[in-house]
């Protein structure tokens, strides 16, 4: 956060309202480290009157006026030795995400000098309610639902959940979608991480239309770790290395030349430097060259002082010892040097920061669409910074949490859609602080229609990677028009998805009814983006019905502008919308015709857009057609 908020144009001096301190963010995560400077409650008054939660009694944990509530859940009561039976965070993740969303301003924060600067949450005056649901063995559905059950009743304003399953599940068989549905019913937006299973298509798992699904993209700060060889050559790899090694050069050995034969390993295994595969006697005190990226636990346990890993990574990760991950060409050069030199030597230097002029782009690991459950609702919804983010860390663990890592730090650098999610959570909280009555869908619409679409050159998966685009929190405060939706709209959508009257009556608790006249298609849900799945080689037509609400200037005329590549036709009727007052609603239809050859992977998707423009506001929506086989 020492760079991410500024990178989004969201400076510490942006306009704020006093109501920000009434906003409560429910963090469903691994707990929190309450002594972190990021959660200092100096200047905070007592909790808002609407707060109905508790600070669950446990030894050595107390709330304050910043962390106003905390609970923990472990239905199976099977605790791991490293688990702390309290809302206290023994993992680090929950402290990290909480401080991204709502951490206080902390000057000169860094990880051993890296990413140094002012660490801050997006809504530093907001309150945090902690719901600890994740433990050493993961985050169970039973605990996730228990936390939603409490958070909604406790009176939180926004819920942040950076957790997901291995694959997408039907909405009412998925604890996160269920919890988010009841949050939405109670006026609470749930912000979800998209997942880290990219770049495979359809790898996104949190896909319910009533929640916000957030992909991860880069900021313009990138970390490199240089490898110096005995021949004077220097190669630039990626990693976060906080350690300055004492000596200039260390002996270099190839993992494949140091198999732990006593335990039955041969070079075909030790070349990857996996745990136990390396011979301590051969590796100790040396830098080891590995043929893949691994956690670093193998080289560390074998006594190596560092490791060079041959695999290109587009984001920098922490390791328990000095590591640099080299691209294949550089890795080959190091390998050649090692094989042609009698006494090969190398060093791994402390990481350095450089400006990444190409940022932002969606990182490779960020899960991609299309939405595996409802193809014609575009997911993810948007992207936010999720790469190399410095934020608060737990003192109950180390930088990596691995055995042998003794670095206890107040701030750590992490990457993941877990990190992008709380950026969007904070932006949602920021909007809600100015517009307390806005629905979850309205807030979501404001975030999506003001997002900036990313370059298709650096994002080959296009909207499947970034959704509506990159989050711009300050623009989201003034979206002009919003695509609002309430519970009834989602009911119509669910009916159209095949849910029957009995089911929708149970989930809504009212007399809702599915019928031919009510059942809504995915194209008619008042969603701020447009997606159309098509059969390859065939022309497909769809009509999308939408209604926008004027939240910008009282009197205004919006004109529709469409962009469409060859193969995609978009027609908007009417293409002018005149408003006379705030809150006025206007409906329109979007006719889309798509023909996708689908004969190779590069032309499986057509990206267009619709922009409503009144001269002051540009209300942007992606219009995407894709071939589905």
């Amino acid at each position: 956060t020492t760079r991410s908020w500024d990178f989004m144009g969201f400076s510490k001096n942006v306009i704020r309202t006093n109501l920000e301190s009434n906003i409560i963010i429910g963090m469903l995560d691994t707990g929190i480290w309450p002594e972190s400077e990021s959660f200092n409650d100096e200047g905070f008054g007592p909790p808002p009157k609407k707060w109905k939660g508790i600070c669950q009694k446990s030894s050595n944990f107390t709330c304050n006026n910043k962390i106003i509530g905390a609970r923990y859940y472990k239905a199976d009561k099977n605790f791991h030795p490293t688990d702390i039976q309290s809302p206290r965070d023994s993992e680090g993740h929950g402290s990290h995400t909480s401080s991204i969303a709502a951490g206080a301003l902390v000057h000169k924060a860094s990880l051993s000098g890296l990413a140094s600067g002012l660490a801050r949450g997006g809504v530093p005056s907001a309150r945090i309610a902690v719901y600890k649901i994740c433990w050493a063995d993961g985050c169970s559905d039973a605990d996730i639902l228990a936390a939603f059950d409490d958070a909604i009743a406790d009176g939180v304003d926004v819920i942040s959940l950076s957790v997901g399953g291995s694959f997408a599940i039907d909405y009412f068989n998925d604890s996160i979608a269920i919890g988010a549905f009841h949050s939405m019913k109670n006026g609470i937006l749930t912000s979800n991480s998209a997942g880290n299973s990219g770049p495979q298509l359809a790898s996104i798992t949190n896909v319910s239309p009533w929640s916000l699904s957030v992909a991860a993209s880069t900021i313009d700060r990138k970390f490199f770790t240089e490898v110096k060889l005995g021949n004077g050559e220097i190669y630039k790899g990626t990693s976060i290395n906080t350690v300055e090694l004492k000596h200039n050069l260390y002996p270099l050995i190839y993992g494949g030349d140091a198999p732990n034969t006593k335990k039955g390993y041969d070079s075909s295994e030790s070349r990857y430097c996996s745990e136990d595969s390396l011979d301590k006697a051969l590796v100790k005190g040396k830098i080891v060259l590995c043929d893949s990226v691994n956690s670093g636990e193998g080289p560390l346990a074998a006594g190596a002082v560092g490791a060079i890993m041959q695999y290109y990574l587009d984001s920098a990760f922490n390791f328990p010892l000095p590591v640099s991950c080299l691209g294949s060409d550089d890795g080959t050069d190091v390998s050649t040097y090692l094989n042609t030199t009698r006494k090969p030597k190398a060093n791994i230097l402390k990481s350095i920061e450089e400006k990444d002029e190409q940022a932002p782009y969606v990182i490779s690991f960020s899960s991609r669409g299309p939405n595996p459950i409802t193809y014609d609702i575009l997911k993810p919804d948007l992207t936010a910074p999720g790469v190399d983010i410095l934020a608060a860390w737990s003192q109950g663990t180390t930088v990596t949490g691995y055995e042998g890592d003794n670095r206890i730090v107040p701030y750590n650098i992490l990457s993941g859609t877990s990190m992008s999610c709380p950026h969007a959570t904070a932006a949602a909280a920021y909007i809600k602080s100015f517009n307390p009555t806005w629905s979850p869908a309205a807030i979501k619409s404001a975030l999506m229609t003001t997002a900036v679409p990313l370059s298709l050159e650096t994002n080959t998966d296009a909207e499947f990677a970034f959704g509506s685009g990159h989050l711009v929190p300050s623009s989201a405060l003034d979206p002009g028009l919003i695509y609002d939706a309430g519970e009834i709209d989602y009911v119509k959508f669910l009916c159209g998805q095949g849910y029957d009257t009995e089911t929708v009556r149970l989930v809504t608790g009212d007399r809702s009814k599915c019928s031919d006249s009510i059942n809504g298609t995915a194209w008619d849900l008042n969603y701020p983006s447009f997606a159309l799945s098509a059969t390859p080689g065939k022309s497909t037509r769809r009509v999308f019905h939408r209604t926008v609400t004027n939240v910008g200037s009282g009197v205004s005329i919006y004109k529709a502008t469409v962009k469409a590549p060859p193969g995609l036709e978009i027609e908007v009727q009417p293409n002018l919308l005149g408003f006379k007052a705030i809150g006025e609603m206007k409906s329109f239809i979007v006719k889309v015709k798509a023909k996708i050859d689908g004969n190779n992977i590069t032309n499986m998707m057509l990206s267009g857009s619709l922009i409503w423009d009144d001269g002051l506001h540009q209300v942007k929506s992606p219009v995407v057609a894709f071939a589905l086989e």
Binding site: A142, A153, G164, H182, R505
Partner: protein, 84 residues
């Protein structure tokens, strides 16, 4: 049926009923319809503040029976999700 044959399931029942309601009594009653008088010992947790549902130890057959009962939206195994 031994305890080993039972797994933890989520039984989701939708919106909570209006006004005061004894979630635990309701959920035990449902479990007893399927499991008999010992059903109450299967109940692990009741959701009642914001929606209706419970967590219980069930056999696969029990889960299928519950899923077909009136008032139940879904029954699914309690699984682990991971941090992102």
């Amino acid at each position: 049926v031994s305890d080993d044959d039972r797994k933890v399931y989520i039984v989701y029942m939708g919106e909570r009923p209006n006004g005061e309601f004894s979630a635990e009594r309701l959920h035990i009653n449902i479990l007893e319809q399927v499991l008999g008088s010992g059903g109450s010992s299967s109940l692990l947790h009741s959701y009642h503040r914001s929606f209706n549902g419970f967590v219980a130890k069930l056999t696969n057959d029990d889960a299928h029976k519950l899923a077909n009962m009136e008032g139940i939206v879904s029954v699914f195994p309690n699984q682990m999700k991971q941090l992102h």
